[in-house]
């Protein structure tokens, strides 16, 4: 129906998440209508990002050099390591301005239900880093869902010898009520976690 090159663009766009064939077609025609100076920056940006952005050699965050800006920053606290599933999670945590330590990106979470085992994640690299870099606290900030919980349990098990030797502390961010929410609408699982992790008002 379309010329082969147009069809190719539609096909490529429809591979993107959340983009169906109809939307891909609309985007394609929009791009075709644009003057070159408006359409080509997208192509250049795509090429640039694929050619220059890679994973940080230490924490597997996204970076344009050997180490990411966080690993390369000498003012960060090198005794604390926060484990996250995806690079996007680092952005969320950085926005809090509460955390000054380093990160480790797993690239996903263990999911027995979906057949995602430890070897598909950067768990061996984590163990090695914790031992080699003399980390004193590991904060397991995987998502509070089943896969994230499974991952947290696995990490705790892997690093147990260090905890027993008294050289490492493993923690998990508190689970609780979102700020600004009504107690009335909280789900039971979150609410019971929030109660279990309650703390004294000073």
């Amino acid at each position: 129906m379309f010329s082969p090159r147009v069809q190719k663009l539609i096909d490529e766009l429809s591979k993107l998440p959340g983009i169906g064939p109809k939307t891909a077609q609309r985007l394609t025609f929009h791009l075709l209508k644009l003057p070159p100076e408006e359409a080509l920056p997208l192509a250049h940006a795509l090429i640039e990002v694929k050619e220059t952005v890679r994973f940080c050699a230490r924490c597997f965050n996204l970076t344009e050099s050997e180490l990411c800006s966080i690993c390369a920053d000498p003012t960060r606290d090198r005794s604390t390591l926060c484990v996250v599933e995806e690079p996007a999670d680092i952005i969320s945590l950085e926005r809090t301005h509460e955390y000054r330590g380093l990160y480790h990106v797993l690239g996903g979470a263990l999911s027995p239900i979906d057949g995602i085992g430890p070897q598909k994640l950067r768990l061996a690299e984590l163990s090695e880093r914790v031992r080699a870099e003399g980390i004193q606290e590991v904060i397991v900030a995987t998502n509070p869902n089943m896969a994230g919980e499974a991952t947290a349990l696995y990490i705790a098990e892997e690093l147990r010898p260090l905890v027993e030797a008294g050289t490492l502390r493993i923690t998990r961010p508190a689970a609780g009520l979102p700020m600004g929410a009504d107690l009335e609408y909280a789900d039971e699982v979150t609410l019971s976690r929030a109660l279990a992790g309650r703390r004294e008002i000073r």
């Binding site: 027995p112 239900i113 509070p144 089943m146 789900d187 699982v189």
Partner: protein
Amino acid sequence: MGSRLFTTEALVIGSMRYREADRIITLYTRDRGKLSALAKGLRRTTSKVGGRLEPFGLVRVSLHSGRGSLYTVTGVETLRTFQGVRDELFRMEEGARLLAAVRNLFPVEEANPPVFNLLVRGVARLAGSASPRDAACVVLSTRLKLLAVLGYAPVVSGCARCGGTESLVGYSPELGGVVCLDCASRESAAYFMLTRGALASLGSLISNPLAELDELEVDDRTLAEVEQVVTQTLAHHGH
């Protein structure tokens, strides 16, 4: 036409990320069997249902049937969280086998209340399992009982081909039961060898109630053999 909205008890048997913040949840419902439903915005921190639709959760869920075969979740109430399953890695791993069996074995939207009850009892018993071996027994037994509900239970009382009860030596997924030495050597159907212990345990796991499994004495080798029987039987009948 009846109402397009209905409410039923359901166990969450699967969950898949969908679009930006949604999930597609697979449920085994008491009233309509297995079905999938879209839970919109579930992954956002402001979602009211996020914590309620985690795998292994028992819920009362309101579903709206929209276009196509996919339902939309409009309300969820937790009945049991079975948090115990999620507190230990070994329970989660065994539980994953049970949920996978349910996902693969049953057709979409075919109500089967005995299956629902069995599944809930199995998950409840798993949540309180004491050891990896206990958890493995619970899940093997539940999977065998699910096969039994469908009429696919492995025949263990005698040879699946000749009915003889002497020198039973192996298991044939194709014949759906144990086979004796004579039939095994004559029969062209594939089979694999079973130890005496595995044969006995297989029978007990099918017929003993879930609550009495802790009295069963099995070793890891026996469990591995029974696992093979269950896996291959499920593979033979899975959809």
